[in-house]
């Protein structure tokens, strides 16, 4: 029973870990650079999910906009992790943008985005 509680009661954290590992796996194991980039994005998104999870509170806490009758801190969600994640999303998007720009450069130069094919081209050019 305890283990079930441990798994189901904290499912959001489990999802975050699973997502993160999927992203990690894609970054390490995939041969295609776009897939690596998607993996990187999943990895970053997992962290956002984690931050959003820590902001939530049990017992019907609501969004942090002051309402009549709600004057205790525990009745509101913690807004800070959300704000932090807004910044992190900006960082994420710009990283993605720079990475895509570099993939375009790579594609123009080599005509492919498969890692092994690019490596083969480089090796061939070295021998010439």
């Amino acid at each position: 029973m305890d283990t079930m509680d441990f798994i189901i009661g904290k499912y959001n954290y489990w999802v975050y870990i699973v997502l993160m590992m999927i992203g990690f796996y894609a970054m390490i194991a995939k041969n295609n650079f776009v897939k690596k980039l998607v993996g990187m994005n999943i990895f970053q998104t997992a962290i956002i999910l984690y931050y959003i999870s820590i902001a939530s509170k049990k017992g019907g806490a609501t969004i942090p906009i002051i309402k009549e009758g709600l004057d205790k801190a525990h009745q509101y969600l913690n807004p800070l992790p959300h704000v932090l994640m807004l910044t992190a999303i900006v960082v994420m998007v710009s990283t993605f943008g720079v990475a895509v720009a570099i993939l375009i450069m790579l594609y123009r130069r080599y005509g492919t985005l498969e890692e092994d094919e690019i490596m083969a081209i480089i090796k061939m050019e070295k021998q010439k």
């Binding site: 720079v98 720009a101 480089i122």
Partner: protein, 494 residues
Amino acid sequence: MKEQAPILIVAIPLLMAFLNIPFGLFKRTLSYPITVITTFLCVYFSYLIADTVVNNGNISYRLGGWEPPWGIEYAIDHLNAYMLIIVSIVSFIVAIYSKNSIEKEIAKEKTVYFYTIYLLLVTGLLGIVVTGDLFNLFVFLEIASLAGYALVAIGEDRAPLATFNYIVMGTIGACFYLLGVGYLYIVTGSLNITDLTKLLPPLYHSKVVLVAFAFFVVGVAIKIALFPLHTWLPDAYTHAPSTVSAFVAATMTKVGAYAMIRVMFTVFEPSFTLEALPTTEILGWVASAAMMFGCIMALAQDDLKRMLAYILVAEVGYIVMGVSVGNKEGFIGSVLHILNDSFMMVSLFLVAGAIMYKEGHRNIKKFANLHKKMPVTMGCFVIAAISMVGVPPTAGFFSKWYLILGAINAQKWFFVAFLLLSSLMVAVAFFKIIQNTFFHPSESHHKHEEPIRDEVPSGMLLPIFVMSVSLLLIGFLSGQIIDLLIQHAVPKGF
């Protein structure tokens, strides 16, 4: 003005980075003076800040007037002031150097954007140093890294591929750092470094804190390219434009090392870092491996910039080693080595850039008689090289001396042996180049075709010369530097 210096040192390069685009599009030649003036202002402000810190004690600057635990605080102590001076001086010197080198290596229409990104990188690096807020540090870390990716990518043919690997690795590092911040936030509810120092001690037994610490160390270790997480560095720094390699090699890893020291000894107490986990033990061995690996790989390279990049991997090992032995001498050695290594790396990479500028290659085997062609440049190279080896009275000797003292005091004899051995290998690596250049055997056969003296333009020569002379100066003044700044930065637990 003086009270506002902590914010101005970040705000001015950020603002100028954006103003640079309209000015540059109006007249392309304006970008260079804008960058030089901006970085000079950074030097001036860092001097003001250091002056205040030395005379009046630590600075706590409140952004928007909010009280520290809630608002973002810019907290500056001796270590920050010291790092600010290093970063701003290096950025100023490299900015002066950049003009000719960039004209040769980068397409004309890209120079405006190059300087914009350069200023953004300066902003990021100064921001990391100046901030007293863990999340703010992450944001600046990413500003610096993103600017770094873009700058590396405009380099040679192979640069984009190297950059992509750099992006993937760098993002993993930054994400681990962010997770560390998140874990600390769960248990303490605070992001302010000074606040965390007070809140954390009762929670040291908590597993969450241990995990946070592990994430911090691994995340920053990727950013500073600590062996075995260094794989992105040699490729990226070899194929970047010479100016960029010089700046990034000298500052990025050093600022990362600063972040590591900050997390290990300010956010967490030294007693926790040294005793709760075998972190320092592991870091010490990893650093030894980095020194050995970096030097061995450096010996095998023909490309000067690639060799320097591998030596940088070894130098990161030195810095981490000094921190890991956990005593005063080791810490002083580490912090002093941050300064020395960043100045040595700048001089060496600038020389590599100068050789690229004149010769169009940087293959060590083709260096024969280069000293007749470029006597001043090669003279400066020799000074920087012997400083890297650690010959007194150059700067490199003093930091290595303290590092070895630290290892002896901690009775880690293996580390002493590794330090000496890797210094020896650095010596071999550099003497190989010096021999190839000065004592090349073919000299006697071709005496009739004496090479003509052909130095790089003075805009490139002067920065190289200044950096090399400063290596001697730092060597002579290292006692004063330690007295004035570094000894105040040593954490209390040591």
